[in-house]
């Protein structure tokens, strides 16, 4: 069968959009830390692109999308070094060249560990991040991606749960890993005692804008074609984001008294996270329901860290973990087979598909357990060997000067 240029154009653009999300995320997070740590935050995000890209080319793509190996734990090595991925054949089930699919998926592998940087902000060493990120990508991301995204992965093929664009693989996976990291790393100095305020909310809002923009590639690009499913996913993505921003702001206005820009941005991201697993499977009105639930749930979830005393600094757990779980479960409620008959075998709970709902729950629990346990072990390992945490001195003076010997802003010259 021939390459379809329209589909290929759309997936190429989507891959570029997903890549753009990582700098967007860097700014989103960077604006939320104190001025002395902003470069440390940007650096961890930018460098994650380097780490994961190199891994992906050498072994990542093949471990994620090679045929089942090791009893289905991971893919085989057929595509190692991408030697056989040169656009000469279509990616199975699509009309796009394999290399285009590979590039699109590479960007997912990049942004997922980057999400974790929000939880370990303002205190983790850069060197520790480099090592942790390498290990985590290989030992946590690739297996989960294989299970849920590869056509023979057990979550997709055997269990029959669905993850349209990464609710399980990206958000739950990174969100629960963030929690495990925070347990090992401990809180920032002054957590819960001092005001630790965002230093530049214009960066955060810009980052949120870039994320929203890029998320169209993330979700609608996951249709792997410029077709009606892409249109469905595109619409669901936007509607969920907008609605979630609305409910977050409403909650904030009601409970705290003032609507904040950080709330609006956080709500939008919560909606984007929650719709990710469901985008190509639900109607616009269902997307609105998912967005509304995500905005409210994540609004409450971000305050748990003060109650339970874990320093999830920029709310990766509160937004990505909670939003990801919510979206994956609500997909089990709102999925409509008529919307995506190719990928859905049955509809969700609301349309009579109780079994599908159960499968979604099982998939969520499996990813939670696997990711938490392996991440916790990896984080301890890195901590025991090279140490996870920057020195107290570095934390007080700021990571920028101490780890990177740079200052973000010099306005007086």
């Amino acid at each position: 069968m021939e390459i379809n240029p329209g589909d290929t154009a759309w997936v190429l653009v989507s891959a570029a959009l997903v890549l753009f999300m990582t700098p967007g995320l860097a700014l989103f997070y960077g604006g939320m830390v104190r001025a002395k740590n902003v470069l440390g935050m940007l650096m961890k995000n930018f460098f994650t692109i380097t780490i994961v890209t190199i891994i992906w080319v050498l072994i990542g793509y093949t471990l994620a999308f090679g045929k089942d190996a090791w009893g289905g734990l991971i893919g085989n090595l057929d595509f190692a070094g991408l030697r056989t991925v040169r656009g000469d054949s279509l990616f199975p089930g699509t009309k796009i060249p394999d290399i285009v699919f590979m590039a699109f998926q590479m960007m997912f592998a990049v942004i997922t560990p980057a999400l974790i940087t929000g939880a370990i902000a303002e205190r983790m060493k850069f060197s520790a991040w480099v090592v942790f990120c390498m290990l985590w990508s290989v030992l946590v991301y690739l297996p989960v991606a294989h299970w849920a995204f590869a056509s023979d992965g057990w979550i997709f093929a055997r269990l029959g749960a669905r993850d349209f664009a990464g609710g399980l693989v990206v958000h739950i996976n990174a969100g629960i890993a963030a929690l495990a990291c925070v347990f090992v790393l401990g809180p920032r100095k002054g957590f819960r005692r001092e005001a630790i305020r965002p230093h530049n909310l214009t960066l955060t809002l810009l980052g949120a804008g870039i994320l929203w923009f890029g998320w169209f590639g993330f979700n609608a690009g996951s249709a792997l074609a410029a077709n009606r499913i892409a249109g469905i996913a595109f619409t669901a993505t936007h509607v969920a984001a907008a609605t979630a921003a609305g409910t977050w702001i409403a909650m904030e206005w009601w409970r705290v008294g003032k609507p904040t820009t950080l709330g609006a941005a956080s709500g939008a991201v919560a909606g984007l996270v929650a719709i990710t697993p469901a985008a190509g499977f639900v109607s616009p009105l269902a997307a609105m329901a998912i967005g509304a639930a995500a905005g409210a749930a994540c609004f409450f979830a971000v305050s748990l860290k003060f109650r339970f005393n874990y320093d999830d600094s920029l709310d990766v757990v509160g937004v990505h973990l909670v939003g990801g779980i919510l979206g994956s479960i609500m997909l089990g409620v709102f999925a409509e087979r008529s919307i995506n008959p190719d990928l859905l075998v049955t509809s969700g709970l609301m349309f009579g598909g109780a079994a599908f709902f159960g499968k979604q729950v099982v998939a969520v629990l499996a990813v939670l357990a696997f990711s938490f346990v392996v991440t916790y072990i990896l984080a301890r390992l890195v901590d025991l060997t090279i140490g996870l945490r920057a020195s107290e001195e570095a934390e007080t003076s700021g990571l920028d000067i101490t780890l990177h010997e740079e200052r973000a802003y010099v306005f007086t010259e």
Binding site: R197, E252, V256, G263, F306, D315
Partner: protein, 112 residues
């Protein structure tokens, strides 16, 4: 020779500067400070967490001035910076022992 230091509300700065100019002051220096005082600070909210911020932004004016003008300068600042609401700020007068204009090396009175 005296140094008059005033902490005032930032939006009054231009008015005060113009009034001082009008009474013959030829120079002054301004910096941005954060003031703590009777005037309450404000609350900031970030993702549901509230922070009390005690400090309010103020402008600090430093004016080097001849002894015979001190009264005028203090009165002028007092009059133009006043809104009558809490937080209008303070004026202090400090003795100066020596004064130099860098450009010319002039000293004391001539340096102004």
């Amino acid at each position: 020779m005296k140094l008059v230091i005033a902490f005032i509300k930032p939006f009054k700065l231009d008015e005060v500067k113009d009034a001082l100019k009008a009474v013959g002051i030829t120079g002054l220096s301004v910096s941005e400070v954060r003031g703590f005082g009777r005037q309450a600070g404000h609350t900031e909210v970030y993702r549901g967490a509230e922070y009390e911020v005690d400090f309010v932004p103020k402008s600090r004016i430093d004016v080097l001035v001849d002894d015979d003008l001190v009264g005028t300068v203090v009165d002028t600042i007092e009059r133009t910076a006043r809104t009558g609401k809490i937080g209008d700020g303070k004026i202090a007068v400090l003795p100066v022992e020596d004064l130099v204009r860098i450009r010319t090396g002039e000293r004391g009175h001539d340096a102004l």
